[in-house]
Symmetry: D2
């Protein structure tokens, strides 16, 4: 069977390697090339297939029908342009082209919320990991006009270490991370808030979000705990969310608060809803979990690629 050749730029990091694995295992895609400047010439094996990382400059862009860019923020947009000029469709995993940072008109690759815009596109900006879980958890409330405008939505999220990339940093050593837990970017200053605010606005939301990310002593996974004051009490929030995501294979509304173990190595988001007891202001607690490397990065990128290429959206992905 003919497989569609795709290329991966920036293939040696955690996200890049996850992409290599997904492409090699994908029933309709084949890996045309994978670049990794710092590790060029090095070999890696995915499901028995031997890959040699090439240099960026040597990337045979015109041999790929679709290119994934997992290059660092800042470096990516240049290569997205070159790949696009060479005729490839592109899924860019960097922040460079996302709302709030990049130019207007590039669709944001959150299929559950933006599918129609993604389908006809040449280039898609794949969302950040935190925005993915946050926006999917909040979207039914935004669209339903449930969220009070004058009370900030609190998003406290915790991520495994692969979210911080694979280059060695003192604060990511085992001796620092193990038996530890800490917040970072405290004060609502995480750069992911740029796209979060832009998308909330585009969905018709009008409220403050205060986001505090944390670092967990685990490899992968993100769990977000969201506290939302409501305009009025809602009897059965789970039913609203279930109706909203009825046809979505990668979103599951669950009755028990999810754990990271339930989502790792899967492209799903699990969302759980509880009404807060014993409060005067009706308040919802939403707990949502994804694998930061799957639905938070490489898995969602493949989901977008499937859409761009006219394949079944879930091909090569585990729900």
């Amino acid at each position: 069977m003919h497989k569609i050749p795709v290329g991966i730029l920036g293939a040696s990091g955690y996200v890049g390697r996850e992409l290599c694995q997904l492409v090699v295992d994908h029933p309709s895609l084949s890996l045309a090339f994978a670049t990794a400047n710092e590790q060029r010439g090095q070999h890696a094996t995915f499901s028995g297939e031997d890959i040699v990382f090439g240099a960026m400059e040597d990337a045979p862009l015109n041999q790929a029908e679709l290119v994934f860019s997992a290059l660092p923020h800042g470096a990516s947009s240049h290569w997205v342009g070159r790949a696009s000029e060479a005729g490839a469709q592109v899924v860019d995993l960097s922040q460079d082209l996302r709302p709030g940072t990049g130019p207007d008109g590039i669709p944001y690759g959150l299929p559950e919320l933006m599918r129609s815009k993604i389908k006809g596109a040449r280039i898609v900006a794949n969302p950040g990991c935190y925005p993915t879980v946050m926006l999917l958890a909040l979207a039914p409330a935004i669209r339903g006009g449930l969220i009070r405008a004058d009370s900030p939505v609190s998003v406290v999220a915790a991520s495994g270490v692969t979210g911080a990339g694979s280059s060695p940093k003192p604060e990511m050593m085992f001796a620092e991370v193990g038996e530890n837990y800490r917040a970072y970017a405290v004060g609502n200053s995480h750069r992911h808030m740029l796209e979060v605010r832009a998308i909330i606005k585009s969905l018709g939301g009008d409220f403050d979000v205060v986001f505090t990310p944390h670092l967990l002593p685990v490899s992968r996974g993100i769990l977000a705990t969201i506290t939302v004051a409501l305009n009025e009490a809602v009897d059965a929030p789970s039913e609203i969310w279930r109706a909203f995501y009825e046809a979505e294979p990668f979103v599951q509304i669950v009755d028990e608060a999810p754990s990271l173990k339930q989502v790792v190595h899967r492209n799903s988001v699990l969302i759980n809803l509880h009404r807060a007891e014993k409060v005067r202001t009706p308040t919802l607690i939403i707990v949502a979990a994804i694998d930061n490397l799957m639905k938070g990065a490489a898995g969602q990128a493949v989901q977008n690629a499937n859409l761009l290429l006219g394949l079944d959206e879930g091909q090569g992905l585990r729900a």
Copy 2:
């Protein structure tokens, strides 16, 4: 030098053993007895001192000037009564006598907020671990009237496994907890909220708290991330908190968000304050950390015991 004899009821759990260690190392206390029904007759060593756990019924209550009860909720109040009748002062670490659960009039052992009431008491109800960190983090805002009444305060906290006790449970096995993270008691239903609401009220607070605890793959430590909408913007929150806790050796206002590693094996609480960027509603993010077995349980119990016995409050404790 004469040391004051103290007894420990329920000495074999994580909190009980931490108490044994603190008492054995304490310059003014000696361990008169330690009971542990299920492990009675078993030995344990603390700083080279061999302890034999006795049966509850054999506890020589009248040999202790002060008794710590680390018995389970429900079972503790009976023994607190018997120890008190035998003439001992008592620090009860269970929930039985805390505000919202127990009878009125028993002081709540949070010295930084309630010192004068603790000093003259015969019995003190030692606070829960989550309430300790939450209330110390919020107290300056409550007393200062900073918190908006109509917007729920979000408290998202994460605890190490020793907070769940030492009896074997399937969900606390290494294979379940390692590489995992999850919320529990979602919906504001944690029993610690009883004392939290009572104390907030007694401090003059009038707002909703929505609390969501989480389980971390670490042994010990609690980190709470609190999002608070303010009545009006505050320029320098750290200065307000520093002034409030000026003379307190066990409270430190820090400029960087604290990590668990900074507090384990210490009786301190570290509190960090940030104003949220880019929000219309002035909002404060408070990150606070304690060791759940020290300031969250045994350490604070010794701090209370020092107060009851007229000793220096910090004796035997590491800040």
Copy 3:
């Protein structure tokens, strides 16, 4: 396509669940039933397929062409007999039927060493996890007569916690296992030595093995470090091992000492060989790794089932 119906007895433990997953994902097998007395009536999901655990007594043994028994030692042999009487072929993962414990004549399911005997069998005794890695690592040396008879072979192995089963035990709690490491069954007393000694003898080996297992703070994986005094120096041990395992898809001789991460979720054994520097007695150090739940249990059981059923030996398994 017609799939061969198989049953799983004892399906709710770590090994049983791994078997369920492998069977559900297997291209030629379908799951006819799965029993789990303590969890009967409970549901579990594998690759989207919902499984209900049945009671042992209700197992429709005659509906399965092959039955896996992951029942506890002692309890298994009875059910193996009943399944066999009902007409099913059986792969027994307990110790009950292994050499040194069970009756003579039941083949030992280590395909790389015993393939011809397995192929024609009705019942196979699936090896223990430690014996699998130890025997595969040593077999070329045994068959080659390389091992000195008068110097004990030291096998020091370390296993993840899933090797200890899923029932809650105090010593397997996160607070005990995390940040810890310890030996157990010290003194060469591990029950797996029964089959190890029997198989070494059957391979023509005549030397002592001294085995010391350890518990690692990881979920899965076994790494064995074996020190072997040789009759005479060997120039290129890797070449001998490579020749021995030339056609084996699940054995890889590697040039760098393997790590657990390289084998988890795979059915492979990685073996690395080094000659000891600066010793008078020629000595080999063999480091070998497997996933205790895959090649050490469920994966190998499926490999054996494939052989019994005349399927391709590697079907449904990841090398």
Copy 4:
């Protein structure tokens, strides 16, 4: 009370910081200076005492009666010479002056085996972490002539990550070390073997040691598992070891195999002995544990400093 001023060279690594902590808490020592070239000017707090790391060149060597050097191998001996010329006694924690590497005549700081030589010295070479545990575990067998000369002693040891130093390396990141375990320096090539072989010889031993170290996903602690073929069977090995170490406060012969949790933050070595069952060659299995930063480095350095300064050997150390 007058305290003896000591200096620390290379104070910012894991060992250096442990030394700072021990000196600050020591009843008879005070910290005169602490250098750390890469972190010069930075502050660190130990038991409430604020330390500023100075540059190496500015170290006021003549203000210290004793200097600890925790500098890297290769860089240390130069500074040991300068400190000694300035009149200070020196405990060198590097490999530079140890037997097999350094000049003859410098005592090896293993007090339990070399106390008399250490007492009169100006300079002591503090042992490596692995040699400490290995030599203390083996010494009674060496001195007793128990070990067979023609059968290699197998030493398999596993260490926490602090043994690898604090500089960031890709292979020491949390995502690589967590849920992993691997051997390194396989082939008997670890540089610690230089001192091990030299000391075994000086104790009268005449046998091969084959050493394979491993990396554990824990912060601190070393556990060594040693398999020794004996000249003849020994009835009660524990009694021999107990007699040998009778007066030693930091060596404990224990009846159960020790775990890392029992030794961390203590200066002790725990040693457990078992005779191997069902072997023709009488064989002993010795399991021994230390904290690599305490008895394996900083703790032992303080023990040596106490000896050099004529203080009680155990001052400032927890057994």
